[in-house]
Symmetry: C2
Subunit: 465 residues, 2 copies
């Protein structure tokens, strides 16, 4: 059925092509797809870097320097929502005009600003209640705050399950938590590994590992969408399976938030966290988020506290003990920065306006289209031997991925990346050998994907010579 | 000698008055002091709220609505440096123009932006080396990151010494750390208390408590300047005394950074942290800082890690283990937000331009002047009985305070505060009974202090009727 999903997607694209009377490899197809895209106008909400501004562009290789670049890097840093400027200026003006009164006045009252994005986050991650989400800190800080509370090792259950190719920050965080409790990396980690020769973790293997090791595992901590392969994990199934073994199951949704459908409450996820600067377009290092399921709100687990853990109503009574804010808000420590929340809100509003359903519907076609073109990159495919071809390691089943496709090349990925950058393509490479391509539904067009395809063809040709 | 310091300050002011041929109670004095103030021009670097913009001003009570308000609230939120707008726009433009290339390009390269303020922080807190300071997160987060590493309780030494009227966030943080390790608040806290009827902690009492309890105390954690009383503690003496008992000694410098001279390295302080939105004028919730003394850089104490704990040079090698950044930088977890660092830098540059020495020299006179006027508020002083007078609880010895004076009134402090606010004074009240007044050397004038004095006189008169 995974293959069927892939075929169905290709068929859908083909049907569009047939209805336009053009082939999928034609620029015309991309243009027609853009014309019928119900979200075609939301791109205007973003500032697009142009060819002439990019530091890596070789101006002799680009026809029109005023043209927008081919930005496929939303997996790393989303583009700037135009309204971010006005919102930020609002924060600055309010501070300038009001001084300390900015704490409770204006569009982004500093002391309450984090609450302004709560409802959007609820929808985005599928929280059941607004008290299940909180906007605070950076992602890696939140990983730690959550693990401090949810990783409570006992003599028999002290391990943390991660996957073998997890993002460094997650691994460093988890290992430092193990050490905090006196465990070693060797003893304390249960590492999910792909089968030899495979790039993706099979769900069946994850479930088997949970079955095998679950009784000694305190926390299963995985990524919703894998930063390297683009694989989306079956959060619901894995969560249930971990919980059946008595583990707590937490998710790093850095690459999943704004990029996949999430139903954290219904899936009974124990806790989760994410950053906002990738698909949520909030800007580098911007404020992050966390989810704590309602079932844990009355827990007496330890929790790090600060004055923002206190309910707003009694915070300035300055009592000696915390009068805890409801739910996830109790995990806050510091007064929030309106300068970051304003940026976050600028990005989230566009999600509200576009609607997650429509974004996901577009993403399905957009990534499918990129996949199709990558598969048809080489006219000699099948004749000159597999090793000469581009390999997409991301799952072919669209239900098992978000927008990102991770590809491997028969040439040095660094070299290809440089050549692409010279021609105005923005995408990134992750060691050892993958290029990540993320056509982002909120601002990329089918034409962007087509333009990428033509540039890549040139580059591959050059490499082959 | 404390009294002598106070008298010396008053004499200095008197001498200025004599040289101008005016009394200290005259507006003329303030104007002449402003005229000779070598820092008089740096006020122009800040946006001052005007009377008409403040939500609490009663327009019928204020003569000139276009006049600047009387802002004495730098202890809570510093004013906006005008250049903050341009710096912030720079960050936004760079993101818009360059997308992901903003990480390594422009005035605030996102991935390295925190390093831009390092040298200023070194000077500000008296670090010996740039690897002793780090700019990251919010203050309460940093308190926790530091305590995770530096609070390592053992069976015999597991207590934390704080003071009885510590800022709620600090107390909540410390207590949650105790609980994390299985200790109770009752057992785990050693609380420094003032003597009955006194507002200030005596250094001799702190030293005696350290002497008495030191052997069971793992960490002494105090404020450099007390948020409520304005008392500045003798960091050097207390640190040495704690260390002599085998304790680690850490300082919360929220109210000390930018407000007092600090020599953390020479004083051998183990660790410290601060926020940047008070005297450093970076804006609400802005990025905070921490200091870790070099003597602890090679410790094998546990430390929470993220990818930003890794050295920049090898960070993107994405290795399984942290290749730790040198010194305090290893305590970083997340990629930093340029939108906050830009604001922080805007504020710090003004400190560089003004020079801390000159700022402190001005502060000495400015706070001394406020003190003098408060002491001469009531012409009936001494005749109608003490209980009718304003009491300054902050130390009279200028070496034992920063800019803030904390005062208690013979009337409801809330009522006085409301009346002051209606007339364009911005200052704050902390429960149970103190008004905090912080004439800030970077932007306040002697005339501001004088204007406050005249308004307060009116208000007191009203209250007396
Ligand atoms: C002494 C002290 N500690 C901690 C804090 C809490 O700061 P944040 O909200 O930045 O964590 C403050 C804020 O005013 C403070 O004055
Ligand atoms: C999966 C994952 N975890 C953690 C991080 C680290 O994020 P931060 O620097 O915001 O803490 C990232 C950033 O790309 C990520 O993709």
């Amino acid at each position: 059925t995974q293959q069927r999903q892939h075929v169905e997607l290709t068929n859908t694209l083909q049907k569009w092509g047939d209805s336009f009377g053009v082939t999928l490899e034609s620029l015309e197809f991309a243009k027609r797809m853009d014309a019928v895209d119900p979200l075609r106008d939301i791109r205007d909400n973003f500032t697009f870097p142009t060819m002439k501004d990019l530091p890596c562009v070789d101006q002799s290789l680009v026809e029109n320097l005023d043209e927008e670049c081919i930005y496929l890097c939303g997996n790393s840093l989303g583009l700037k929502p135009k309204r971010a400027d006005a919102y930020q200026q609002d924060v600055l003006n309010c501070w300038g005009k009001l001084g300390v009164f900015t704490h409770f006045t204006g569009r982004f009252p500093a002391a309450q600003c984090d609450l302004l994005v709560k409802e959007s986050l609820v929808k985005l991650v599928g929280a059941g209640h607004s008290d299940e989400v909180v906007c605070m800190n950076g992602l890696s800080v939140n990983i730690h705050l959550l693990l401090i509370s949810f990783y409570r090792p006992t003599a028999n259950r002290y391990k943390i399950m991660i996957e073998g190719h997890s993002f460094p920050s997650d691994r460093y965080a988890v290992v430092s938590q193990l050490k905090l409790h006196g465990y070693t990396e060797e003893d304390g980690l249960v590492i999910l590994q792909t089968r030899t020769g495979e790039h993706l973790l099979r769900t069946e293997d994850i479930l088997a590992a949970i079955q095998e090791h679950g009784q000694s595992v305190a926390v299963v901590f995985l990524s919703g969408v894998h930063y390297y392969t683009g694989q989306k994990f079956d959060i619901e199934t894995i969560t249930k399976s971990g919980q059946a073994q008595g583990c707590l199951v937490g998710w790093d949704l850095a690459h999943a938030a704004g990029n996949t459908e999430l139903k954290l409450h219904d899936w009974s996820v124990d806790f989760a966290c994410w950053c906002s600067y990738k698909y949520l377009n909030s800007g580098a290092g911007c404020i992050a988020g966390a989810f704590i399921h309602r079932k844990h709100h009355q827990d007496d687990r330890p929790r790090l506290c600060g004055w923002w853990s206190n309910r707003e109503e009694t915070r300035f009574d300055m009592q000696h003990s915390v009068d805890a804010a409801p739910g996830a808000d109790a995990y806050r420590l510091c007064n929030p920065p309106p300068a970051l929340v304003a940026l976050h809100k600028a990005g989230l509003e566009i999600f509200e306006e576009a609607g997650m359903d429509r974004l996901l519907a577009k993403q399905y076609l957009l990534t499918g289209y990129l996949e199709y073109l990558m598969d048809h990159l080489d006219p000699d495919a099948g004749e000159t031997g597999d090793e000469k071809f581009v390999e997409i390691i991301t799952p072919r089943d669209p239900r098992q991925r978000g927008t990102q496709l991770s590809v491997m090349f028969p040439f040095s990925v660094k070299e290809i990346h440089e050549k692409l950058e010279k021609r105005g393509v923005v995408c990134d490479v992750r060691l050892p050998s993958v290029m990540r391509l993320a056509p982002t539904a909120s601002y990329n067009t089918f034409t962007d994907v087509y333009r990428f395809f033509t540039v890549l063809k040139q580059v591959m040709m050059e490499c082959r010579m």
